[in-house]
């Protein structure tokens, strides 16, 4: 009898989480799916008509915004990785007694709300700000140019806002790195560069993958940065979905767009893990079996 009871324990432990997911993920998903193939309006009510043209219309009307979202999120993710890896490396190996303080500094922005942090960038990048004057002085920017309300500003905002999501998993995997392996590499006459690319980088791949996913996925759906830092040609798909839901109350199009975005992200992530991920994540097993 106790064995039966023991077998039930995991289900008992899982049930609050499952119930939570069912209520706040499965049920909303069901309604989104329902709306995405419905037709009607708020005034006349909605009815299920299996209108799959909601999808084709949504995709063909908003291809630009879809493309832009993936472009911005991709650029921000790459920038986050380029900025975040050296930072995480420095915190893990070079910071010494400053390590905790530096980690705190990475997390510190979270004490202010996301919205305020984004709006602060409006001040940093405004037309007459020191940053912009400096860029003009070194002729990166033409004298009548601007930073705010451009794609660059949106990507900068995304990069800034999602950087901690990149740094923390990178730090976690760097911190676990067995330093004796680096010594061994050195003993075997590998240069510092070779050691980095052939030992450190592959061993921290799980951190890179986690960081990339944690940065890229929320960045694709973001609309706050485009709202405040973008101009007239910087709307991302999140802005469109927001406006479809709340401004013109076209729930069908909004739901179809949300679903399409979700499916594209899912496919992209699966491809990414398949081609970039498995080898790094499962490398040990494959080697073991080989």
């Amino acid at each position: 009898m106790t064995t039966l009871r023991q077998r039930l324990v995991p289900y008992g432990l899982m049930s609050p989480g499952l119930l939570w997911l069912a209520l706040f993920f499965v049920v909303p998903m069901f309604f989104m799916a329902w709306f995405s193939v419905s037709s009607g309006s708020l005034e006349a009510g909605w009815s299920l008509t299996w209108t799959f043209s909601n999808y084709t219309d949504a995709i063909s009307n908003y291809t630009t915004q879809f493309g832009r979202s993936f472009l911005y999120a991709g650029a921000a993710t790459i920038l986050c990785l380029l900025l975040g890896y050296p930072l995480a490396y420095a915190i893990a190996f070079k910071a010494g007694r400053w390590q905790n303080l530096m980690l705190f500094a990475v997390i510190a922005p979270f004490f202010t709300t996301y919205l305020i942090r984004t709006i602060a960038w409006k001040t940093i990048l405004e037309d007459s700000s020191p940053v912009v004057s400096f860029l003009k002085t070194i002729q990166v920017l033409p004298s009548d140019g601007r930073v705010l309300a451009t794609s660059a500003a949106v990507i900068a905002g995304l990069t800034y806002n999602f950087l901690p999501f990149m740094v923390l998993p990178l730090y976690a995997s760097l911190e676990r790195l067995d330093l004796r392996l680096l010594e061994a590499s050195k003993d075997l006459y590998a240069s510092a560069t070779q050691t980095f690319f052939r030992v450190t980088l592959p061993l921290t791949a799980p951190g890179i993958i986690a960081g990339v996913l944690l940065t890229f996925i929320p960045a694709v759906g973001d609309y706050v940065n485009a709202t405040f830092l973008g101009g007239v040609n910087q709307s991302m798909i999140g802005n469109v979905i927001q406006a479809q839901y709340l401004v013109i109350n076209d729930y069908a199009t909004a739901a179809a767009l949300s679903f399409t975005l979700m499916i594209i992200i899912l496919i992209a992530v699966m491809l990414y893990i398949r081609f970039a991920g498995t080898e790094a994540l499962m490398g040990d097993e494959e080697e073991a079996s080989a």
Binding site: A22, W34, G45, W46, S128, S235, Q244, V247, I248
Partner: protein, 382 residues
């Protein structure tokens, strides 16, 4: 013992699953039904007491009126500034209102077209004029019979305002017309509001089309003109009321904006000024209404009457700087604050408003309106 031990979690799961299925069915059915206003109730009056929940826009009341009202009537007021935009607020409360629940609100405040939309959906109650004696004694004549609600059966104006040009007079002194916003000289230095009924309406007025008489094609033409200016880089951004900061910094030299914002911003920066467009402005009001399912409507009537007492209204106007819908306020303020009383933006003369139009929605049925709204959305969110 064994039986009951292993059954219990299963039973619970089964109950949960059944509950979930039931909820799905209920909500799925609920969301299919449209609503209409044929059986809209009239909010009951009576002796006012208890608690009153009010939803209004930010910075739309002074900080004395509510406590004065509480002291005078003994009614406890929860005044919430949770209306930031008509559409966002609608999106938030619609699921409640469609089930006849006001979310505890007894008064909510939205703009003309949204008042009408909510009423047509059956979300607002009718008001009893016998319970609003003070309101109807002091409501200014020009607002007594608006086209969307003749005789004021479900909406009582809170404040009115103008949509026009807000300009940095030191940086762009020659902007006098909406058409000047399209001047290449100001490329990338102008913004428009993201509201179709403000921006597109002003653009068509500048081309000599009266919004209330415009056809769907004329609305689409105005949207197209804005689209061209957007694509050429003329328009920097479409904004909510955050255009004021852009103007203050000088990132933007001219914007389509609201009169009350301009009066408030001018106090901080004398170079920011409201300019009445040569071809006129768009006039609108935000209205108090009692939503369906509202608790304590007697207290709501009491509050509406209270803010229509000229003395009480003067106190609000002094702070918010929009156009008051109440008679006799100018006389009071002439004694208290002559500069305010002579401000054309707060007490506009008929001449100042002569070319202005009332804010309207695009014409036609649901599908035609949606066509214009979609076209506008694809410009704003392009």
């Amino acid at each position: 013992m064994t039986d009951s031990t292993w059954k219990r979690p299963v039973t619970r799961l089964a109950i949960a699953a059944a509950g979930l299925a039931a909820a799905l069915t209920v909500v799925a059915c609920g969301s299919t039904g449209g609503t209409d206003n044929t059986d809209v109730p009239t909010a009951p009056g009576g002796k006012a007491s208890g608690t009153l929940n009010i939803s209004n826009w930010p910075l739309y009341i002074d900080d004395q009126t509510i406590s004065d009202f509480e002291k005078k009537t003994g009614i406890k007021v929860n005044y919430t500034e949770d209306v930031n935009s008509n559409t966002d607020f609608f999106g938030k409360v619609q699921p409640l209102l469609s089930n006849g629940d006001s979310g505890g609100r007894s008064i909510l405040t939205v703009t003309d077209w949204m008042s009408k939309k909510m009423y047509d959906l059956g979300y607002l109650q009718k008001l009893n004029p016998d319970d609003l004696k003070t309101v109807f004694n002091h409501l200014i004549p020009s607002l007594q019979d608006p086209a969307f609600d003749p005789g004021r059966t479900y909406s009582i104006p809170w404040q009115s305002g103008m949509t026009g040009l807000v300009v940095r007079t030191d940086l762009a002194p020659d902007i006098k017309s909406i058409n000047d916003l399209f001047d290449p000289k100001y490329k990338g230095k102008v913004t428009m509001l993201d509201e179709l009924r403000d921006s597109a309406a002003l653009v068509m007025k500048a081309d000599g089309v009266e919004p209330s008489e415009a056809s769907t094609e004329e609305w689409l033409a105005a949207v197209d003109k804005v689209k061209g200016a957007k694509e050429s880089g003329q328009i920097r951004r479409f904004t909510g009321n955050d255009y004021v900061q852009d103007l203050a910094k000088g990132d933007v030299v001219a914007a389509i904006g609201w009169s009350g914002d301009a009066v408030q911003a001018q106090a901080d920066n004398p170079n920011i000024e409201y300019v009445q467009p040569e071809q006129g402005c768009i006039l609108w009001s935000d209205n108090m209404s009692i939503p369906v399912g509202a608790p304590n409507s007697p207290a709501a009537y009491e509050f509406m009457n209270y803010v229509y007492e000229p003395e009480n209204q003067a106190q609000i106007v002094e702070y918010v700087n929009y156009i008051s819908p109440v008679t006799g306020v100018k006389e009071i303020l002439t004694k208290k604050d002559p500069e305010l009383a002579n401000n054309e933006l707060i007490f506009p003369s008929e001449k100042f408003l002569s070319k202005c139009s009332n804010q309207v929605s695009p014409p036609g049925d649901d599908a035609q309106q949606k066509e214009v709204e979609n076209a506008w959305l694809s410009v704003v969110e392009g």
